[in-house]
Amino acid sequence: MEQEIIIQIKDADSFYGPKQILKNVTLDFQAKTVTALMGPSGCGKSTLIRCLNRMNDLIPRFRFEGKVLYKGIDLYAKDVDITDLRREIGMVFQKPNPFPKSIYENVAYGVRIQGITNREFIDGIVEESLKRAALWEEVKDRLHEPALSLSGGQQQRICIARALAVKPHVILFDEPCSALDPIATAKIEELITELKKNYTIIVVTHNTAQAARVSDFTAFLYLGDLVEFGPTAKIFTVPQDKRTEEYLTGKFG
């Protein structure tokens, strides 16, 4: 496996009001691998993933200190265009959140807001993105129906297709299966494994089995600390920290 580091988190502290959420987290992500951020509720894993595309900027009273380097560029530097950044680093959320528009318009949205109007070009992107999200066969005859008429699992794959349409390099998944049934979950997990050929994937999950199934690397967070980080096989077989072991064996979380 090639060793290209695409994102580096350095000494990240984050605060919500006076409360510290992340405590001095330092973590590297390898390109074209799946890294799982695992831990119990409130451990800061969602906060951490949202630092990577600066989604936390939307929250008033949120504060971030430290550095996130994407291909060597500090994402929190003053001259970074946050909209360009979010096109490079896409995101899929916990609850499927398709726009109340048609399937086609959902996928085309990210392209349209860049001012692109060429119909054939957009058609091509929509088809390609839906194919990559393993949804094309299910929806190709009903592209102009409302996305909200689809099932939860399909809605989540629409959201993945929507993220793929703007050609990101990294895709962040924030507990993408927590609102889905086991069959839909299996499909999304399969998709994540498929997508890592072309994209760097970071998945937040509180589900240890899911982390074991989909990821190459696993980071275990607990109460804002990065407790342990390493290849998934190693974390699951020989955890170095007692807290990791207890979490994996179901003693808490």
């Binding site: 989604m55 909209t83 896409g90 959320f93 807001i113 929507r162």
Partner: protein, 298 residues
């Protein structure tokens, strides 16, 4: 021990009945109003053909040569309403977008109550504001403007209903789930794109309901137009001349010494009926739209 005390039982029943009576009061009032409007209107239509009422272009119930065409009054109402909506909808929507998408919590808490103060000003004050301030001001730019005119009445009425539009539209936009905004930001949207391409369309049925309510408010508004728009029923869409709206006509006749039971007297109710039908239809549409909006996100 476990048996209910009879006095408590009686008290509870009494309270329940009392509450029921209070809520029925408004239902009875509405029913009574509809009854009066209908019965007097039927009396009116025994003497005047409906077709004349709807197509005659003159409204002269007090002249010797009587005409009972509602069109001139309808025109007056239409012109003032259009002007008011032309002011209230853009201004109301822009402030709603600002309040919902741009303003910090602190700003929203300052601006929203201030806007709502506009709605608390008595309409008679707005009326004289239109007549004694806005009209003279407009005259400096529009020399042909009459002392009484639809333009200044409509403009001031528009200002008055800005809070109605902004407040209801802001509620609708605020109800759009945060997840949609996040989804849009995550795709590289700018704030203005999130506001106009995601939040605004998602809230559209709620916003439309707000606009329709504003229209029916403008149609029913009385004091401003009675004071500032004149009392001359004219079949015209010219906003610069004196006109008369349906509501202003009702005021004019009610204040006069029209004998009870005459045809002139019945015109009040026919006009009331027309107004009622207009606003009722609009409110029903607004209600339906609001329901549709709620179904999407609940």
């Amino acid at each position: 021990m476990l048996k209910k005390n009879n006095i408590v039982k009686f008290k509870e029943m009494l309270i329940e009945r009392l509450l029921l009576c209070c809520s029925l009061l408004s239902v009875f009032t509405t029913a009574a109003i509809i009854y009066v409007l209908l019965s007097e209107s039927i009396g009116f239509f025994k003497e005047v053909r409906i077709i004349d009422f709807l197509t005659d272009t003159q409204w002269t119930p007090m002249f010797t040569n009587k005409h009972f065409g509602i069109l001139p009054l309808l025109c007056g109402t239409l012109v003032t309403t259009l002007i008011a909506i032309g002011v209230a909808v853009p201004a109301g929507l822009i402030s709603a977008i600002y309040l919902s998408e741009y303003a910090t919590d602190k700003m929203r808490h300052i601006i929203k109550p201030l806007l709502e103060i506009l709605a608390a000003v008595p309409t008679v004050v707005y009326g004289y504001f239109a007549l004694l301030f806005v009209t003279p001001l407009l005259k400096q730019f529009i020399p042909g403007l009459s002392g009484f005119n639809a333009l200044s009445a409509g403009l001031v009425m528009g200002i008055m209903i800005i809070p109605l539009v902004s407040s209801l539209s802001e509620d609708a936009m605020h109800a759009v789930p945060m997840g949609l905004r996040e989804g849009a930001y995550a795709l590289g949207s700018r704030k203005i794109q999130v506001a106009f391409k995601i939040v605004f369309p998602a809230a559209l049925s709620g916003i439309t309901a707000a606009v329709i309510l504003a229209v029916s408010r403008a149609i029913g508004e009385t004091m401003i137009v009675a004071i500032a728009a004149g009392q001359q029923p004219k079949f015209t869409m010219n906003p610069l001349v004196p006109i008369e709206t349906i509501t202003a006509y009702i005021v004019q006749i009610s204040l006069g010494d029209t004998p009870h039971g005459t045809l002139e007297y019945q015109t009040i109710f026919v006009c009331g009926m027309t107004l009622f039908v207009l606003t009722f239809v609009l409110n029903v549409i607004s209600f339906k739209l609001k329901r549709r909006f709620q179904e999407i996100y609940e």
